[in-house]
């Protein structure tokens, strides 16, 4: 499962940042301990490559945070670079989450290896499933990822009754749920956000999800509404795949 769109979005947002030159300089300084005062040289650097290097050299986000801070301390214009460092962590935190969930292209994480091999996503996925109870507090640095999830929920709930969306998602993941049932406790256990997370873990491609949603919507009590819910969910969720 590759989130090329989200990766490109993050890289784009760094490129467009008003502080981009400082961000690039700081990443260069953090990776190679080399400082460049040459504006043209810094302009020529590609954010994509810099981010790739940073993630390769610092696979641990906390260690990256500490390293960035200690690098900034060595500079004379700390104030300006503190903001750049904070922006780097905000953006990269998001990428680290994507990486942990196996959503970054293998070729991005391993630039020196052959891009034909797509098996990397399997190993990173098993790392993600080993998450412990300590990980239940959401990724405190991954603001962009969390904001995107809130937007996803809002997009779905704006265009279709949230309960229709929920019943469809639940039925796709567990068993066919009917509103005529007396026992709604199963549906009360999960909120829409929980169900969306489970969808990400269960369906590797948007095509697989589309097929399954279509199948399931036809079996539900109100197939027309379920069909609409399926369309709304797919449109909102596509950018995440």
């Amino acid at each position: 499962m590759e989130d090329l769109n989200l990766l490109e979005e993050v890289i784009e947002s760094l490129e467009q940042d008003s502080n981009v030159l400082r961000i690039k300089r700081l990443i260069l300084f953090t990776c190679h301990d080399s400082w460049s005062n040459d504006v043209n040289e810094v302009k020529a650097l590609h954010v994509r490559q810099l981010v790739q290097e940073l993630m390769t050299i610092f696979p641990d986000l906390n260690k990256l945070k500490h390293k960035l801070n200690s690098q900034v301390k060595q500079l004379s214009k700390q104030s300006d670079y503190l903001l750049a460092a904070d922006n780097i962590i905000d953006c990269l935190g998001f990428l680290y989450t994507l990486r942990d969930e196996g959503k970054l292209p293998y070729s991005f994480l391993n630039p020196e290896l052959s891009s034909d091999s797509q098996n990397g996503s399997v190993s990173t996925k098993s790392e993600a499933t080993e998450k412990t109870e300590d990980d239940t507090i959401p990724h405190k640095h991954n603001i962009k990822y969390l904001r995107n999830l809130f937007d996803l929920r809002a997009d779905i709930s704006r265009n279709v009754s949230p309960l229709h969306a929920k019943i469809l998602l639940f039925s796709t993941l567990n068993y066919r749920f009917s509103p005529q049932e007396r026992d709604w406790s199963a549906l009360y256990t999960y909120d829409i956000d929980d169900l969306i997370q489970m969808i990400f873990q269960t369906y590797e491609t948007v095509e697989a999800l589309e097929t399954r949603l279509t199948e399931v919507s036809q079996t539900l009590d109100q197939p027309e509404e379920a069909k609409r819910a399926a369309a709304v969910i797919l449109q909102a969720i596509k950018p995440f795949y």
Partner: protein, 330 residues
């Protein structure tokens, strides 16, 4: 009136059903768009998936009613009684619930964006995962403030909402998104905001005493004159936050990020700031008596006229800081 009769009359064009008794009726998936049900008795009525856009329910009794998945967009429900009603996954965009009673109601995953929730009673309500973006809950003179005490707002979306003066004592707002919302003068005593996103949120004069704000993101938040006594802000991100004159006596701020934060005139007596990052923070006139600053980073911080008697500073970094006497630390 029976459900069948109601639907028949609706089909023939009747819309005014004010004062009607429809208690326990089964109106599952019914189309009742635009009806007037002012003061109607709808206790325990089944309105699951019903279409109730623009319906008027003023002063209606909907206690225990089943409204799961119902579409109530733009409905007018002023002073309605919805206590213990089930609104699971319902659509309530731009609904007017002024003065309504929703105590113990189930609003899980409901969409209430832009709803008017002024003077609403939501005590103990379940709002887990609910969308409350741009809702209005601002206190109105002459009316009791909106009351959410003890409500469950886990993962709720409150972006851009206005809750000034509301009562949220003991609420669970963990992992909720409060960015750019207004919480001025709100009572959040003992509330759980662990992991919440509150960047740019306004908390001026809010009561956050004993609140749990561990790992919350409060980047650029405005906490001027807020009461944070005994609150827990361990590992919170307060980059550039404004804490002018805030009361942080006995507050836990261990490992918190306070880079470029403004703490002028704040009370930090007996607070825990061990390993906190206060680089470039402004602590002019701050009261740090008996504060614990062990291992904290105060490089380039401004401590002019700060009171630091009894403060513990083992391993504290002061390089480039402006000390209380106005002199620069080498």
């Amino acid at each position: 009136m029976s459900a069948e009769k109601l639907l028949k009359e609706y089909a023939s064009g009747r819309r005014d059903f004010a004062g009607l008794n429809l208690a326990n009726a089964n109106l599952f998936n019914s189309d009742l768009i635009g009806v007037n049900l002012t003061k109607a008795d709808l206790r325990r009525t089944n309105l699951v998936f019903a279409f109730l856009n623009k319906v008027t329910f003023n002063h209606a009794n909907l206690s225990g009613a089943k409204l799961g998945g119902a579409t109530l967009n733009q409905a007018i429900m002023m002073s309605a009684n919805l206590s213990e009603a089930d609104l699971h996954g319902a659509m309530l965009q731009r609904v007017n619930l002024f003065g309504a009673n929703l105590s113990l109601a189930n609003l899980m995953d409901a969409n209430l964006s832009e709803a008017d929730l002024r003077s609403v009673n939501l005590r103990g309500a379940n709002l887990r995962g609910a969308i409350l973006s741009a809702t209005l809950m601002r206190e109105e003179r002459g009316y009791p403030p909106t009351n959410l005490s003890g409500a469950n707002l886990r993962k709720a979306d409150l972006r851009g909402a206005n809750l000034s003066g509301a009562d949220l004592a003991g609420v669970d707002l963990s992992s909720a998104n409060l960015s750019e919302a207004t919480f001025s003068r709100v009572n959040l005593q003992g509330a759980n905001l662990s992991g919440a996103i509150a960047s740019g949120t306004i908390f001026t004069e809010a009561n956050l005493s004993n609140a749990n704000l561990t790992e919350a993101n409060l980047k650029g938040a405005n906490l001027t004159k807020a009461d944070l006594k005994n609150a827990n802000l361990r590992l919170a991100n307060l980059f550039g936050a404004n804490l002018t004159k805030a009361n942080m006596s006995m507050t836990t701020l261990s490992n918190a990020g306070l880079i470029q934060a403004i703490l002028n005139g704040s009370d930090l007596s007996r607070s825990l700031l061990d390993k906190a990052n206060l680089s470039q923070a402004s602590l002019v006139d701050a009261y740090l008596v008996r504060a614990n600053l062990d291992g904290a980073d105060l490089s380039e911080a401004i401590l002019t006229r700060a009171e630091m008697s009894g403060a513990s500073t083992i391993g504290t970094i002061f390089s480039g800081a402006t000390m209380p006497d106005g002199k620069s630390h080498t």
